[in-house]
Amino acid sequence: MIPTISSSLYFRGTYAVYVGLFFIFLITPLTVVGIFAFNDSMFPSMPWNGGTLAWFLNETEPQLGLFHDEDLLESIGVSFVVACFTTIASLVLATCNAFLFEREQFPGKNLLYILMLTPLVIPGVILGVSILAFSSTIANWAEMQFDYDLEFLRPGITLVVLGQFAFITTIATLVISARLRKFDSSLEEAAMNLGATRIAAVMTVTLPDLKPALIGAGIVCFLMSFENFNTTLMLVGSDAPLTIAMFDRLKEGSTPVLNAVSLLLMVASGVLALISVFFQSEKPGS
């Protein structure tokens, strides 16, 4: 079952067709979403009424185009802000974590490492509600004790960022740790041997080497945050990020403006994905 071992033409043919069908299965829903963004109809469904750019550019209802839909644009803005904060916070903590687990030795390290991984197996909805419950508990307590409402602990952007930060950090830690594990620590020793302090050695030698991983992890964090739904749903306040805003509209009955947003998302994600692939495959030093 490898190319060097002969197998029947029939087997190979069937296998290739199967893999082909799989890729059709993967691609179809996305293609359909993209195509119907250009349908000149009030519904993203058959029949095809001819192509139009109205769902992107039209300025008036009922075919209000994406670029003039204040609500959607605003929710994109919210998602963007949330994603930026989440990415930065996750990257900083994940870098610390990577150094902690790859470089330091301390009692209980294995247990803490397992705990670090647990967000991967906590369903997003539960992570969301647990943070919601805990932050409310603290906020209620503060209100009782000091008669002061800790506004940021109520559902809203801060909580959304915290909730996403909770599990995205784990993923970023795995990406950065993998790179740090491959890093030849004799480079750091060489830097110290040439007169650098430990911190200077990390700054001048280790971090530049981690740069591709940091960029890759940053892109992954940004996309995961931008696209997150389950955790966000539980923590969202009045400012809805894009996924929540789209979900609300989808429940009401969708118009092709959602296809337009989706297409935009796909293009943006695709570009980010390409950038990340580029940085991941880049050889160090080049």
Binding site: L187, A190, L194, G195, P208, D209
Partner: protein, 376 residues
């Protein structure tokens, strides 16, 4: 080793000891290295040489003992302040920086002025014969060029001592031979003290002024390459430096330095005892004879060497200048390796031929048999 007290030492170790748990990696090692010399530490892997080097560099701290550089203790000095630099086993050139960036790294850490950095980098690149390599990336360099950049990166800082941790290990054979010569020349032009650790005896012998043979955390012998080769003081050195035939046996008789040995297989040899060992009759000994010190006798013109054997060639191991015959001694079924003379004489010998071999008593070295441990 008598030392002249006027000689200045770049590096001195006194009774340096380092253990990891129950395992003693470096056991009371003391040595002194005169300024400007090429000093090698030769030993099998796991003998403690890397630990010793890392203690000199400051990456590990000795449990006991004292390390002095130019007469001053450096035990309290962190690695980044020690006046020693190190060429790492895999060179550890920074892949994210250019050649210039690598060489300037240490100077920048010392806040040397930019113009001075530029001139010193250019100067050292010229001295390692790579004047135009400054803008290259590390992965554009060949193995030998990387080697030289790694050394230049250290020498630009004018260290008192340069430590080299088997830097030739990753190179292929041809390049390694070439780099041996180059390293020696670099050391002579810069005049810096080099401490070179290796498990490859040929590297140590070719380059060094002095070689320390290390085994199980201790120095077995320190001396010039010639001393180690011709006058090994311990059986480990005799076995580790150069090729040897080895037998075990006991002493039959002693007459001054000459001793009569009976091997376990039943051969009788006449050998020389190492003074330090103070052997007595009946002692268990190890006997070493180098393949190149065994003569293949001309049947018409026999020598009067004390050790004479007749044997059968059972294999011709052709390896150019290092070719050997493997000869079986029929009485005892023992085997002995004999170097093929490079004069072309005896080149016609084939498997199955019978020959006479002989060697001098001085070439037959006897050591008290160690039970895997050290002699006192």
């Amino acid at each position: 080793m008598p030392e002249n007290s006027n000689v200045t030492f770049d590096l001195e170790c006194r009774q340096v000891t380092k253990s990891f748990g129950d395992f003693t990696a470096v056991d009371q090692v003391s040595f002194q290295i005169p300024t400007g010399s090429f000093f090698s530490i030769l030993g099998p892997s796991g003998c403690g040489k890397t630990t010793l080097l890392r203690m000199l560099a400051g990456f590990q701290h000795p449990d006991k003992g004292e390390i002095l550089i130019k007469g001053k203790s450096v035990l309290g000095t962190p690695p980044n302040r020690r006046p020693v630099n190190m060429v790492f086993q895999h060179l550890a050139l920074f892949p994210t920086m250019s050649v210039t960036g690598n060489i300037a790294y240490g100077l920048k850490r010392r806040n040397v002025k930019r113009e001075e950095i530029r001139t010193r980098v250019a100067d050292v690149l010229k001295r390692v014969d790579l004047p135009d390599a400054g803008d290259k990336r590390i992965d554009q360099l060949s193995g030998g060029q990387k080697q030289r950049i790694a050394i230049a990166r250290c020498l630009v800082l004018k260290p008192d001592v340069l430590l080299l941790d088997e830097p030739l290990g990753a190179l292929d054979l041809k390049l390694r031979e070439q780099m041996k010569v180059e390293l020696k020349l670099l050391q002579e032009t810069f005049g810096t003290t080099f401490i070179y650790i290796t498990h490859d005896q040929s590297e140590a012998l070719v380059m060094s002024d002095q070689v320390a043979v290390m085994n199980q955390g201790r120095f077995e012998q320190v001396g010039t390459p010639q001393e180690l080769y011709y006058h090994p003081e311990t059986s480990f050195v005799a076995g580790f430096v150069g090729d040897s035939n080895r037998w075990e046996g006991h002493i039959d008789a002693i007459e001054g330095e000459r001793i009569q040995i009976k091997t376990v297989e039943g051969e009788s040899f006449v050998g020389r005892s190492i003074v330090k060992h103070q052997l007595k009759k009946g002692d268990s000994v190890e006997v070493y004879v180098r393949p190149e010190s065994v003569n293949i006798e001309n049947p018409k013109n026999r020598s009067d060497l004390p050790n004479q054997c007749r044997g059968e060639v059972i294999s011709v191991l052709f390896d150019g200048a290092r070719s050997q015959f493997l000869i079986r001694l029929p009485q005892t079924e023992g085997e002995i390796s004999v170097a093929m003379p490079q004069t072309g004489e005896h080149a016609q010998l084939r498997k199955g031929d019978s020959i006479n071999i002989a060697w001098a008593a001085d070439q037959c070295l006897c050591f008290r048999r160690s039970s895997g441990n050290h002699d006192g």
